[in-house]
Symmetry: C3
Subunit: 338 residues, 3 copies
């Protein structure tokens, strides 16, 4: 299963060229219309979950099956044990095995490794390094696929780009409004980081709304500003919900936690209380240009977005979810092409 050249990993959208992304989206569309390829026959893809998953797990497993392959699904804690990520240490602690060994060994059994790492949740400076998935990629001899790390969720971004393309045609010049929403259990900003990057690369103008203190990761934002400047598109941040949605062609809703109070639940709770209500309803949507509503799910109904909007004619959430399946088939075809 080991090739002579290093495997192509998919940790960030940036790991693919514009051309590769186009190829994947084209192939995904053909597969969505029924084109089938049994190119994974006798292949096994390993899925390792260090956190829960419903959509990602099911859509990736189904994608592999549609291509004729099998999966092996491993859930940390119930199925196996803690792994050491630091190199050179004397391993006399809780972890009986090093990621470098687990990755090298798993590479011998499977054709690709999809990983959903845990976030330690103590320090953003630490977590933003995505050390665990980087260690898997460094030591795996087969492609490593990121099923959402602290910093990125590139599988969601591929599905989102296909959904945007289906909804808008050519993305260039259209406006995407990314709007923070309220949740008692906010997510990592990974989804927003990835779609922000993907939208700018596709030539979209982007506006971002969030309460004070909910800025995205500074380095990601710097890179986004650079990308926007290179492509001559606009990127505005820190707006109100209404201002961001103004003239938008798509409103992308997502809750994420504050990186200011990361790792401090008490401060995070009081900051969330101060943020007030952020629920996307028809009034917000009416600011856009017949704007579609996107959300990666799970979505807290009537807290993040109203039932009326979620179940209305402009909702794209089910198309996004369905496109997870098709774009993952496209991606697997590219990564595992013989």
């Amino acid at each position: 299963m080991t090739g002579s050249s290093p495997p192509l990993h998919f940790i960030r959208l940036q790991d693919l060229t514009d051309r590769q992304i186009e190829d994947i989206l084209d192939l995904s569309e053909r597969m969505k219309r029924g084109a089938s390829r049994a190119e994974l026959a006798t292949h096994t893809i390993g899925l390792l979950f260090f956190r829960g998953s419903l959509r990602t797990r099911t859509s990736l497993v189904a994608a592999v099956h549609h291509l004729g392959g099998h999966t092996v699904n491993l859930t940390a804690a119930s199925d196996f044990w803690e792994l050491e990520a630091q190199d050179g240490t004397i391993m006399d602690g809780a972890a009986p095995e090093h990621i470098r060994d687990a990755a090298a060994v798993m590479s011998k059994y499977v054709s690709a490794l999809a990983i959903r790492p845990k976030q330690a949740g103590q320090s953003w400076t630490m977590d933003r390094k995505d050390m665990n998935i980087q260690a898997w990629a460094a030591h795996s001899q087969v492609p490593v696929i990121n099923m959402e790390s602290c910093l990125w969720h590139p599988l969601q971004a591929l599905a989102d780009l296909l959904t945007l393309r289906e909804s808008l045609g050519n993305l260039g010049g259209n406006k995407l409004a990314i709007v923070w929403t309220r949740s008692p259990q906010p997510s990592s900003p990974s989804v927003v980081h990835s779609i922000l990057h993907g939208a700018l690369r596709s030539g979209m103008n982007v506006s971002i709304a969030h309460p004070p203190g909910y800025e995205l990761d500074e380095s990601v934002l710097d890179a986004a500003q650079t990308s926007a400047a290179e492509r001559g598109v606009e990127l505005e941040t820190g707006l109100s919900m209404e201002d961001a949605a103004e003239g938008a062609h798509v409103v992308y809703a997502r809750s994420w936690h504050s990186l200011e109070t990361y790792g401090n639940p008490t401060l995070a709770a009081s900051q969330l209380a101060r943020a007030g209500t952020w629920t996307i309803d028809e009034a917000v949507m009416a600011r856009g240009e017949q704007a579609g509503l996107m959300h990666p799910m799970p979505v807290r109904r009537n807290l993040e977005v109203t039932d009326e909007v979620l179940d209305g004619p402009r909702s794209l959430i089910l198309a996004q979810a369905e496109n997870r399946l098709h774009t993952q088939k496209g991606l697997l075809s590219l990564l595992l092409r013989p």
Copy 2:
């Protein structure tokens, strides 16, 4: 994966016509004798477990494999999260996702959804509504298969009907004795509800034995009385073990909890203590007409039924278990026929 007409769900035996049940049993018998059909090739069936399962899980997975398909198995708690079942609520509690969204999304990835819901265990009035699986059925665009809800276990009933047919030939006019047995962890009456309904529909006379306070669900029993009257067969309830077994052709053993003390462990324990010993032994079996012994398992040996009976020549328990595999293949063929 979505059709134009609503999908055929299998929540209760009543969801199928007499003709459909006959077709499934006929097909199951042919498959048991070796007829094979690869009609599920490239199909994935989703199995969601909100409670543990050994027989149902393994037999359903094997049935799908025999038909050429794949499964994805999801265990709540270890694999994913709590789901909201109430419509219109503001979702600011523990559940980050609504069943309506989970069901709609999963429908995009799989060809059928098999669900084993949890029972809340607080109130029978509430639990008997089977709200969770009904919500899955309402929002899924693919067939939903009940892997045992509070009220019904139709997969077990299909296997039981095939076992009865193999043992007795034509079921009409034969007598089935359903006998309550003692267990420190009684089950839901779901299995008994389903086989009671199935036996009456097949023209069997049915007698039911249980201690005072262990009556079956009132509405299920009313419907059973109506069904018996329509078919001109006898239904007797509340008998002693010996009276129920008198002249029976099959004795069906099963422990179930009292619906009177449901949700109150203290009262339930003292009621169970008053119930005394209910163990099926050779003396009970001798009341029947060379009666076979059925039990859906898991069975507590020498507490519910003696080793002598379970391992004796009239025991049908392994045939029942094996027929889970064959009847599920028949059912899947019917539900997923192109």
Copy 3:
């Protein structure tokens, strides 16, 4: 799925003849070079885990897939319930099901059952009987495969024998040094019991190093002495690390717990403290004849073996791990040959 003759189980290496082991290793080598056989098409193999597993689970699942078959993976606790192993008991305790019933039922659904039993950890006299896996074998109508019991790990031994053969050619007359290593969570001696037995049967001389009190199981050691005498090879035990490695062609590292203090964590901890440092480094390896380093993993780096040795040119650990896949394909082909 039931045959007329009893199924061939694989609980210990001793369950196979020398000729069968040769056949498996030959077939494994051909499969490693790419020979493929779809002999498990439509077959399902059941994997039951009562303890965690990464390598064994993934390599066995992948082996089944490569042969065209499917698996169903069951994890105790999250997926199902406690099983009773004692015969004749009145089952009014925690376990709702007897292994004899679970094994008989599972036999109806799958073509083989692979089991990783739990060790109770109270008494070696009790645990060394391997009662659980023996009960599965006694009541299963399909082959039972041991995925590591208290006493044996024959799947690891098959992979180890192939690795030794690849490294040394004919094993006869070569010397294997088995060296105890230090770990805060020692393993069962199962791996060492199995490779000790396999190496002697292959005509290797074996030396064993360990601190006082870490002797292997007495009956296993007696049988090993008999085996050595029959084949005219040498077996030395209780050596220092350096003496065992002297002139060895392969050093096999593994931590195992003391059977003297088994079931008594306090005594076990002070015994482990007295054992001192046992870390295999280049100085130990230099005692051998360009000796290879083997370890079944998981390995605690720089505590059991130094990074330098593990990542050096004489390390065979990844070959061992990869050979798990190939030898399991060979074994499944033998066990399930029509």
